[in-house]
């Protein structure tokens, strides 16, 4: 039985339960997705775009899906309080794949802004959610359709026209279960014209006794002259697999920054598909991947310049140690009428051991002449001259190596615009390289004791 068919079977046999617990907005797309999956299979390793990562194998284990929406007995909002130091965030949790507000979520919210459960929002505001939901996700990809077919909850973020959010929104994704589990996670972000928001997402695995799989689809709409920053930090466990697919659409004069950081995990695949559909949009896409042990990290990007005067800048950096493996596959596509496009892509990798492997495939597809584009990829080892120079000054080899690896990541960290997060990330990267597995109690968002309010 293929990995996909076990989930299709699960869906077919639980159709009524699933639909009964869900809104019509989700259900109508669910049925379409089910049809699209007929006769399909998940990508195998070696297929184009999946040279080093098998989605089939990722989904093959018999993960449980929380079809009946059983409440997992974890009082997250009490035991797990996250906060970016020196910065107050609007925070919510996703436990496995169920939305859980923090106690202070609603009283901090600016007028008209919605940060809520996707299940509830799609019932309370069917027109609003229905107007955007599943509008960007490419369901012809089986990995996306599978998510659309099974999703029952998620997060809906709506920032109305002209609202500039001062506080960042923070989502904490947590795996915690008593059996192997797949979380079907869905995030819909709508930033209307002239609005601006910052979003920090962090992935954690609390109980790493079991295997987890995160199937995540993110849709992000960035309106005219709007601005959205997404920081997505994975700090999960070796027992956690993640398949995240982000689809974003940018309108005229908009700005989008996505910075994806993999600090720890098991098997990670992130897809970024960004459409610059209207003129004068700016995209910054950055990624940092730190892998050790037998970890695997694969980032796949597709930036589509379909308008004039668009600008995109991509920087992905990997440090791979032990027997870990990394992959990067990035495409810049410039359409025939996307004149005056400026698009850059850079992938730089450091192999810290003889066994680590990196596979990189930078690509440009340009269909007009009025463009400035470049791409480049390098894979190398730590600079032997720098290492000896540091050791000759008395810095022990291990520390020197760690300092050089940290230094390698500095420019990706510097791309973080959220002050408190930048410092925090610097600290976390340092800790990660010194071999201290960052734990949930010390996450990117520094989890504290419950806050009394």
């Amino acid at each position: 039985m293929s990995a996909l068919s076990q989930y299709i079977e699960l869906y077919d046999s639980h159709l009524e339960v699933i639909e009964g617990k869900s809104s019509e907005v989700l259900n109508s797309h669910r049925r379409e997705a089910r049809k699209l999956l007929e006769g399909k299979s998940l990508p195998h390793k070696g297929e184009e775009g999946y040279e080093k990562t098998s989605i089939e194998e990722m989904f093959a284990p018999d993960f449980g899906v929380n079809i009946n929406r059983v409440n997992i007995p974890v009082d997250v909002s009490l035991s797990f309080k996250c906060d970016v130091p020196n910065m107050s965030t609007i925070m919510a949790f996703v436990v496995n794949d169920t939305f859980a507000p923090s106690s202070t979520l609603h009283n901090k919210m600016p007028q008209g802004v919605i940060v809520d459960s996707l299940a509830r929002a799609s019932q309370e505001h069917p027109e609003l959610v229905g107007g955007f939901y599943n509008g960007l996700a490419q369901n012809e990809k089986p990995g996306v359709a599978l998510n659309t077919m099974l999703v029952q909850d998620g997060v809906f973020i709506y920032v109305p026209r002209g609202v500039v959010m001062e506080r960042p929104i923070q989502l904490v994704n947590i795996f915690n279960s008593v059996a192997p589990m797949m979380g079907v996670r869905r995030l819909l972000v709508v930033v209307e014209d002239g609005a601006s928001a910052q979003l920090l997402i962090c992935d954690h695995t609390q109980n790493s006794e079991y295997r987890y799989l995160s199937s995540q689809v993110v849709e992000a709409y960035v309106g005219k002259n709007a601005s959205l920053d997404i920081y997505d930090i994975e700090e999960s466990s070796a027992t956690t697999a993640r398949y995240s697919q982000l689809f974003a659409r940018q309108q005229r004069d908009s700005q989008l920054l996505v910075n994806g950081v993999t600090l720890s995990g098991g098997n990670t695949r992130n897809d970024y598909h960004i459409d610059l559909v209207e003129d004068n949009s700016k995209t910054t896409l950055a990624g940092m991947a730190i892998a050790s042990g037998s970890q695997h990290i694969d980032n796949n990007t597709y930036i589509k310049h379909a308008s004039t005067h668009g600008m995109s800048n991509q920087l992905f950096k990997y440090v791979l140690d032990d027997e870990s493996t990394g992959a990067f596959d990035g495409v810049i596509y410039v359409a025939p009428d996307a004149r005056f496009t400026e698009a850059y892509q850079s992938n730089r990798n450091l192999l810290a051991s003889k066994q680590a492997r990196m596979h990189t495939k930078p690509q440009l597809e340009i269909y007009n002449d009025d463009v400035k584009c470049s791409h480049g990829a390098t894979t190398g080892q730590l600079d032997a001259d720098a290492l000896f120079y540091m050791r000759s000054r008395g810095i022990p080899e291990k520390d020197a190596r760690t300092m050089l690896m940290q230094a390698f990541m500095v420019d990706v960290i510097d791309m973080v615009k959220m002050e408190g997060l930048r410092d925090r990330l610097r600290h976390l990267v340092e800790k990660r390289f010194y071999g201290q597995q960052a734990s949930c109690s010390e996450c990117a968002a520094a989890c504290h004791e419950p806050q009394k309010d």
């Binding site: 120079y389 540091m390 810095i395 300092m403």
Partner: protein, 255 residues
């Protein structure tokens, strides 16, 4: 005086199977300044790299005794802790590592080696400030990444600044004069002279005599084809300046 700081005996070493040092002998006592001169390709930089422990070189024979410690047995970082300092001919740029973090890691590693507590942040910054003055190193440079974007002169001054911070017992200055204009040369040499005591020693490796106008050697050695073929006082440097190396080459090659 029988107090020996460094004793190199019959040192043979090379890189990628090619022998460059072919039996070097050298004795350095505290308070002394030794100049090692020689034509290009004689092995001057190899000698300094091998003494500092550059892993790209292999030692095939010989001994190096550094105040009672077998130097060749030590990792480069421990050679530094034991008091050896190499001022690089080409100081390495390390983008992303600030001078402050670099120096703090170095100082505290040495303190740890001697079972001392790390320096407090304020004591460390005070030390940085003091030592910067030795070579008139701009505070701006100290806050940048190691050597990144430094001019040739700034890099060399930065080397002497690091030497001041680490207070070595033996400093090897490898072609410290190369790429320096006369003002920078004066500042760098002045820094070296300020750091000189009766307890420490300096080996100055240079191609030209002009640095020796500023740093006065007690001994001048000529390295040729991997061996020290001539040793004399400061006057030897003047002879070399006037007559070049050809007469020595002929003397040796005819033997």
């Amino acid at each position: 005086m029988d107090n020996i700081l460094l004793e190199v005996k019959n040192l043979r070493a090379g890189i990628e199977g090619k022998e460059i040092l072919k039996g070097v002998n050298l004795t350095v006592r505290p308070g002394e300044v030794h100049a090692i001169m020689g034509p290009n390709g004689a092995g001057k930089s190899t000698l300094s790299s091998v003494l500092a422990g550059d892993p790209s070189f292999t030692v095939s024979e010989g001994e190096v005794n550094f105040h009672g410690v077998d130097l060749l047995e030590l990792a480069p970082e421990n050679r530094s802790h034991e008091g050896l300092f190499l001022s690089f001919q080409y100081p390495v740029e390390i983008p992303g590592v600030s001078m402050v973090n670099f120096m703090r890691a170095a100082i505290n590693a040495k303190r740890k080696y001697f079972n001392q507590e790390p320096l407090s942040a304020s004591d460390f910054l005070k030390l940085m400030r003091q030592k910067r003055e030795v070579v008139e190193l701009d505070n701006k440079l100290a806050s940048r990444s190691v050597n990144e974007g430094f001019s040739g002169g700034e890099k060399k001054r930065n080397e002497i600044f690091q030497m001041a911070m680490l207070e070595p017992r033996l400093s090897i200055l490898d072609e410290t004069d190369s790429g320096l204009d006369i003002d920078a040369l004066r500042i760098v040499a002045g820094g070296v002279n300020k750091l000189k005591t009766s307890e420490n020693a300096t080996i100055v490796i240079t191609h030209y005599q002009r640095l020796l106008d500023y740093i006065k050697p007690d001994f001048v050695h000529v390295l040729y084809k991997g061996r020290i073929v001539k040793t004399g006082g400061p006057e030897l440097a003047l002879v070399l300046e006037e007559r070049g190396y050809d007469w020595i080459k002929q003397e040796i090659d005819n033997q």
